[in-house]
Symmetry: C2
Subunit: 352 residues, 2 copies
């Protein structure tokens, strides 16, 4: 199916949840994580080009609905994402997402996609991109504390992009750990199911926290983190939701996506607003150091930024022809004479 050319611009390719699962399985999870990581790196290297705005949030007593737009001047993207912790009690997802990529030159949308799965992939790809310059050399073992929806994606991103061979899993719900271990079986990585967070971090050079706690929580206490560890903190991602004890933050070198957003949503909401942090894009661009010693504790305080969704949508757009997994939606009115929208409706009469 053609996806460009003026004559078909009124049709917008749509990647459904089914299509997305097909794409992930066609390409392979690890390969797709690596592909998205490449696009994220590319976009972080031209960070200054992007329109960067904080999320536009509509809060209600039970949750939040957010729009996350960004643009590099050529492509434009936005993601719609909600957060409703009480949804699981009603058999619904806490977080759902979809997104649109558009052409800045014409303003026409060029892709509509589910983004619940795509966000899981980009979050894990982002963590691995950040860990490459921050994790200690020779790291081969990662603890994953919190074994929910994001855990397997994190494991496979770190296996593929950093060569991590052993994962030490812990969750307060042992069923989640078993689910995660089962899903990762047969993928060439060693899995250790642990009975406590303390056990999980033993011997791990990288510690990933990705719990779903909604309140200030202390998943990691100061004594659990030895010298040289890289912490990949995913779960603290909105005001009032953190995972790390403040003392860990105080002895870490902290790397973030976009400081104005991270200071509100990330672990560093616990710190003074002028506490020094390093923007990750500067490390990737060689403008700031990443890890500088094998004793240093590094922390990637990840909250998820619009540019990562932009990168993921850009990657997906570039896979459309290859996978053929999309349908075209008749989304853009296209009268032969732009001034005759009304006539177009009249002429449609009796055709429906």
């Amino acid at each position: 199916m053609p996806v460009d050319g003026a004559q078909t611009r009124n049709l917008v390719p749509f990647v459904s949840v089914d299509d997305m699962m097909g794409i992930v399985n066609d390409i392979g999870v690890e390969e797709m994580l690596a592909g998205i990581a490449g696009y994220i790196e590319e976009d972080f290297l031209r960070w200054e080009l992007f329109d960067k705005t904080p999320r536009i949030a509509a809060h209600s007593p039970v949750g939040v609905i957010e729009l996350m737009p960004t643009s590099d001047g050529i492509d434009y993207a936005f993601k719609y994402v909600n957060g409703h912790p009480k949804n699981t009690r009603e058999g619904l997802q806490t977080v759902t997402a979809f997104g649109v990529l558009a052409d800045v030159g014409s303003g026409y949308p060029v892709l509509l996609s589910e983004m619940t799965i795509l966000t899981a992939l980009r979050t894990a790809a982002m963590s691995a991109v950040a860990a490459r310059p921050l994790a200690p050399a020779g790291a081969d073992t990662m603890a994953i504390i919190g074994n929910g929806a994001q855990a397997e994606f994190q494991a496979l991103a770190f296996a593929r992009l950093l060569g991590i061979r052993r994962f030490r899993l812990y969750d307060i719900d042992a069923a989640a750990t078993r689910k995660c271990a089962r899903n990762l079986a047969g993928r060439g990585v060693g899995i250790v199911e642990c009975a406590s967070a303390e056990e999980a971090v033993e011997g791990a050079q990288i510690v990933t926290t990705v719990t779903a706690d909604k309140q200030y929580a202390t998943i990691l206490t100061d004594n659990m983190i030895g010298a040289g560890v890289h912490i990949n903190a995913i779960g603290g991602d909105c005001p009032g939701k953190t995972e790390l004890h403040r003392d860990i933050l105080l002895r870490s070198d902290i790397f973030v996506e976009y400081p104005p957003q991270t200071r509100i949503e990330g672990e560093i909401q616990q710190l003074d607003p002028d506490h020094p942090v390093t923007e990750l894009w500067r490390v990737l661009a060689g403008r700031a150091p990443g890890r500088t010693s094998d004793r240093q504790v590094t922390l990637f305080d990840s909250v998820g930024f619009a540019i990562e969704d932009f990168s993921a949508l850009r990657y997906l757009r570039d896979q459309l022809d290859r996978t053929g997994r999309f349908e075209n939606l008749d989304m853009i009115a296209d009268p032969d004479d732009p001034r005759d929208l009304f006539g177009m409706i009249l002429r449609a009469k009796g055709q429906g």
Copy 2:
């Protein structure tokens, strides 16, 4: 097709351009304009309940892409809309739009729709809603200056909602006027094709300006507007784009949708930032007077606000069952176990 219930919440009804044309023809343009007007009035009467933010705009040298979100605490809506004047030279639309309605309680989207046609309908419905308390009593003749895509919708909204029986049409391009007259033939209204704007306004108690000029233009000069006229100014809707001579503004009582937006985008960008204006919702709610004398010149300086799109989407949602014109999109990932997104993908393997 069921459109609610937790078991189908992952499916989002989508109204395509074809569906929308079918809906307009099923319901009838005039009836649909009246229906949307009713929803707009209802929402303007509870104006203070709404989250109101200015548009979120991404500007480029050739155009703009905007997101317009709003919420009343029960429903949430946003519209995506672009503006690219140079598009017509490439056989593309200057403005395209689509929108989403979502449930604030769960954060789930409940409707995705084309909004190029729907915006044309809501803009005309809004004009008529504003004109009811502002136009002079007994008005039966309206001039329409600018006979492009919006003109017929304006005419039919004023015919249906204010009982206007004669329309005096003028456009710098006589072909646009002929197109408009042809489209309005047989709808029980009198049409006069005029050779100038001066001729068009003769005997008209309401003057609608809806030209597509991109620069400061003077479609109406001061001498063209007599005492008692209501001006419905649609075309001045972005910075640098106005239609009325400043002197007309200075002797009019000016009514606007949302002052922070209108002062940037509307005719009143020509005036001091503290020039008095009346919020239309206050007139509709009986908190401020509309027209108070038959000599008064009233001006509705319309730019289009997010709440009107919200009303239009709400109206459309309520017609879905009645018209059946939509398809369900598999847009929201819905794993049986929310923590097992990865397992859902694995299990889909071989099913695609």
